[in-house]
Every structure is written in structure tokens, then in C-alpha cells.
């Protein structure tokens, strides 16, 4: 496979944070932004270790970490494959309950409004320098993709996932990963409204700023503002459909 994408990963030992965690963060960003799509096989441990110039132990630990998040599936003697965490459980459940999509979307948005502002508050307290750097880079990339809805959504997804990772609560991270599909649906249905990406990234910037400044309550409020905006957009769209 094309390993160029991995040789761009540069991780330096700076005494802060585990190397395996840093590598996991980089790989996660590639997966969530779909630069590594579902089903893609990762290079072998040895190849990956050469590409990123880190020991095999570090590579193995990073892979294990992502395995635990459901982002990689390791098949013995075959290798590691990009996967998606348990969304299938939510998805199956949603098919089982057989409720109108608008109700499911509203419910998911409500769950999100319960979790994400709190996640953002925790992120302001717990984010590492790398998390903040990743958030910053993601917001910057999104600025260049305001007219490319599909790419924008992929990075939007990445932004919210990095936040959940930065909350340093694995349960919250898994819950956010589990509603990815529904959140993506929300993102794509509101995309037809004017200036949606501009407004979203404006809010992302406010959130990032508050996290950088280590202002938990400001961060919380910035996420509430962001999600209220999304809610308004959803209401506008659903009104049209109904």
C-alpha cells in the first residue's frame, strides 16, 4: 500500500506524553478524516515502525490503543484493518425501533447537547499540547474546505472526536464515536443551508480558543452556542420536510 501518508508523521520525544499515545493520535486523525478509509489495511508493524521512525513496541501499543477504540481491527497473521467502532449497534437499534428519521435526529442531537458541552469543558481542563495542536490544524484545514461539503464534514467529525479524546474519558469518547453516523447525517442534511460551514468553523474557532486559554466555562458555552446553531439549522430543514 501507499506508505507515503505514514512517512509524513513526525513524532519527537519531548518528555511530555507517551510516544505511543502521540502516534495513536496521529493515526486516529488519519482514520477519522477518512484519509485512511474503512477496511484499509495498515502496513505491518515493522513497515510502520520504519515509516514513522519509532520502535515496534511503540507502534504495537499505538495499534492496541486504537483497537480499544474500535478504530482498528486486528486479524491474527493478517494485520490491522481500519474499522469503525460499534456504530453498528446503534444503527441496528435504530433500524429495529423503526422510528421516523426526524425523531432519531432530534434525539441524537439532544444526546449530543448533553455530552458535548461537558466534554468540551473537560477538554479545556485536560487537553494535552498535542490535542490542542491537532484541533488547531483541523480548524485551519477546514478553513480551506468551506466549499467542499464532503471533506468539511470528515474534518468536522475529526474535530469533535479529538475533543472527546482530549476529555480523557474513554467512555465519552466511545459514545461520541458511536453516534458518528447519525451526526454525519445531521451535518449533511443541514449543508444545503447557506454559510453553514462558515458558521460552524467560526464556532470551532471559539471552542479552540477557550481550550487554549484553559477556560472551561467559556469552552462549555462555546460548544452550547455551536450546538444551538446546529439545532436551529436542523429545525429549519425539518420544517421544510414536514
Amino acid at each position: 500500500m501507499n506508505q507515503e501518508i505514514f512517512s509524513h508523521i513526525q513524532i519527537e520525544f519531548d518528555g511530555a506524553g507517551l510516544l505511543s499515545q502521540k502516534l495513536a493520535n496521529e493515526l486516529r486523525a488519519l482514520i477519522i478524516s477518512n484519509q485512511l478509509s474503512e477496511g484499509t489495511q495498515l502496513p505491518s508493524e515493522r513497515e510502520l515502525s520504519e515509516a514513522v521512525k519509532l520502535s515496534r513496541t511503540v507502534v504495537r501499543e499505538a495499534i492496541n490503543r486504537l483497537k480499544g477504540e474500535g478504530l482498528l481491527k486486528v486479524q491474527p497473521s493478517l494485520g490491522a484493518f481500519v474499522s469503525r467502532p460499534d456504530t453498528n449497534i446503534f444503527e441496528t437499534y435504530l433500524r429495529v425501533i423503526d422510528k421516523p428519521e426526524s425523531k432519531v435526529i432530534q434525539d441524537a442531537q439532544k444526546l449530543r447537547l448533553t455530552l458535548e458541552p461537558a466534554i468540551t469543558r473537560l477538554a479545556a481542563q485536560r487537553a494535552t499540547a498535542e490535542h490542542i495542536e491537532q484541533l488547531r490544524q483541523t480548524v485551519e484545514k477546514m478553513d480551506g474546505l468551506l466549499d467542499d461539503g464532503k471533506q468539511f464534514i470528515a474534518l468536522d467529525n475529526a474535530f469533535h472526536t479529538i475533543l472527546a479524546e482530549a476529555s480523557n474519558n474513554r467512555v465519552l469518547l466511545i459514545l461520541i464515536l458511536s453516534i458518528h453516523d447519525t451526526l454525519d447525517k445531521i451535518r449533511s442534511i443541514i449543508l444545503e443551508l447557506p454559510r453553514v460551514t462558515q458558521r460552524a468553523n467560526h464556532h470551532h474557532r471559539m471552542i479552540l480558543q477557550a481550550i487554549q486559554d484553559r477556560e472551561p466555562e467559556k469552552a462549555y458555552q462555546a460548544m452550547v452556542d455551536h450546538l444551538n446553531q446546529v439545532q436551529d439549522d436542523i429545525d429549519r430543514i425539518l420544517e421544510r420536510i414536514d
Binding site: 492496541n64 449497534i89 425523531k103 467512555v171 459514545l175
Partner: protein
């Protein structure tokens, strides 16, 4: 329709019947023969469908007896966490933290949206709790049931699923926590007050009470969690 697709659809129907409570926890699924008749499909299709439901841990197949329904929900957290091999104090902290974010909101939403039937279910659980103050383990089971009923009373499809996943993973430490002296009495009065707040549609009070209850119970849970 091909065999695989047909089994998947039947499996989905069975899961729906479990989720909706027609097939209830603790009981056996109808026999293969009855299921064949009900869904009008072959025995092979039913067997495959049962295998699919089994994979979700909702039923446990007991050779010679049948398929026992062991839980009405699937745990969205379990497989990810199990894969990570996490069962550390940190996991308990994370579970409790997630719970303390969710439940006050759930309590407020339940106070807003509970139907007369929901309130009746909550009353029954409080009654049940009263009936087992001397049996902490039974008490914990009804305590959890109360919280699940509350999540159901929000009428948001995600809350019960998410809360169930968290509660189930905390269950073992709950069994320990309710043994703390005074824990059951304290807990009982919180639940009675919560029920009242829901009945009077006092969202703010329901949410505040839940906050206090979780903060109180968290201390007991942490000491009850495996080190």
C-alpha cells in the same frame, strides 16, 4: 429472498420483540418450531436468526432447554472497552463521570415528558425498593430498574441505550456500594423525592436531586469498585 438476508430480517424482528418487551428478560424464547410458524420461515432460517441474536448477547442458548433472554438491550460500550482490555479504576471513574453528566439531564427530561404510565412504572420500582431494603443485592437491581425507567420516560431513544450500557458495567460495584452502612436509606429517600419531582413536573428539582444523588452514590461506587 436469499437465506442470509431472510435470517437477518427474522433476527431483527426477534430483537425488536425483545426490545419492545413482548419477549421478556428472564424468559425463554418461543421454541424453534413456534418461531418457524410465527415468521413463516424454515427451521434453518430460524436457527441462523437465533445465532445472530445470540451474537448480540441478548440471549443465551441453553442446550436442551432453549434460548434464555438475558437482557433487553445491547451494550454499546462493552465490546470496545473489552477489546481495550480495560477494567481499571480509571474505567470506573470514566463510567461514573459519564453517568453524572447524563443522569441529571435525563431526570429533567423525564419530569418534562413522563406519561401517566411512566410514572406508574417509577412508582412500582420505588415500591419494590421499599420491599428489599434488607437485601442490598435485590435493592440494587430495582434501583437500576428505576434509573432505566426514568431514562425511558424521557422518550429519547438514545438515553436508555446509553444509560443501560453504563449501568450494566457498573453493576458489580453497585452490588458492593449498597452494602455501605446507610446507603440504602439515603438512596431510598432520593428516589422518593425524584419520583415526586417527576410527578409534579418539576424539571429543575428532578435534575438537582439527581445531581446530588449521583454525587453521593459516586463516593460509594468508587469504594465499591475493584481496585
Amino acid at each position: 429472498m436469499d437465506f442470509e438476508l431472510l435470517s437477518q430480517q427474522v433476527a431483527l424482528q426477534i430483537r425488536r420483540l425483545i426490545l419492545e418487551g413482548e419477549f421478556t428478560e428472564g424468559q425463554l424464547l418461543p421454541s424453534e418450531r413456534d418461531l418457524c410458524r410465527r415468521f413463516n420461515v424454515s427451521r434453518t432460517v430460524i436457527r441462523e436468526a437465533i445465532n445472530l441474536v445470540k451474537a448480540s448477547n441478548m440471549i443465551r442458548v441453553q442446550p436442551g432447554k432453549g434460548a434464555l433472554i438475558v437482557k433487553a438491550h445491547e451494550n454499546v460500550l462493552e465490546s470496545s472497552l473489552l477489546q481495550a482490555g480495560i477494567s481499571s479504576p480509571k474505567l470506573y471513574q470514566d463510567l461514573i463521570e459519564a453517568r453524572s453528566l447524563l443522569e441529571p439531564v435525563i431526570a429533567g427530561d423525564a419530569a418534562e415528558n413522563a406519561t401517566a404510565e411512566d410514572i406508574h412504572h417509577l412508582e412500582v420500582e420505588v415500591q419494590n425498593m421499599h420491599g428489599c431494603v434488607a437485601n442490598p443485592r435485590q435493592y440494587a437491581i430495582h434501583d437500576n430498574a428505576f434509573h432505566m425507567k426514568l431514562a425511558g420516560a424521557t422518550h429519547n431513544h438514545f438515553y436508555p441505550l446509553v444509560l443501560f450500557s453504563i449501568i450494566e458495567l457498573l453493576q458489580q460495584s453497585m452490588f458492593e456500594a449498597v452494602k455501605t452502612p446507610g446507603a440504602v436509606d439515603r438512596s431510598l429517600s432520593y428516589h422518593e423525592n425524584l419520583l415526586n419531582a417527576v410527578k409534579t413536573r418539576d424539571m429543575r428539582r428532578a435534575s438537582d436531586l439527581m445531581n446530588e444523588h449521583i454525587a453521593q452514590a459516586s463516593g460509594e461506587l468508587i469504594s465499591g469498585s475493584p481496585a
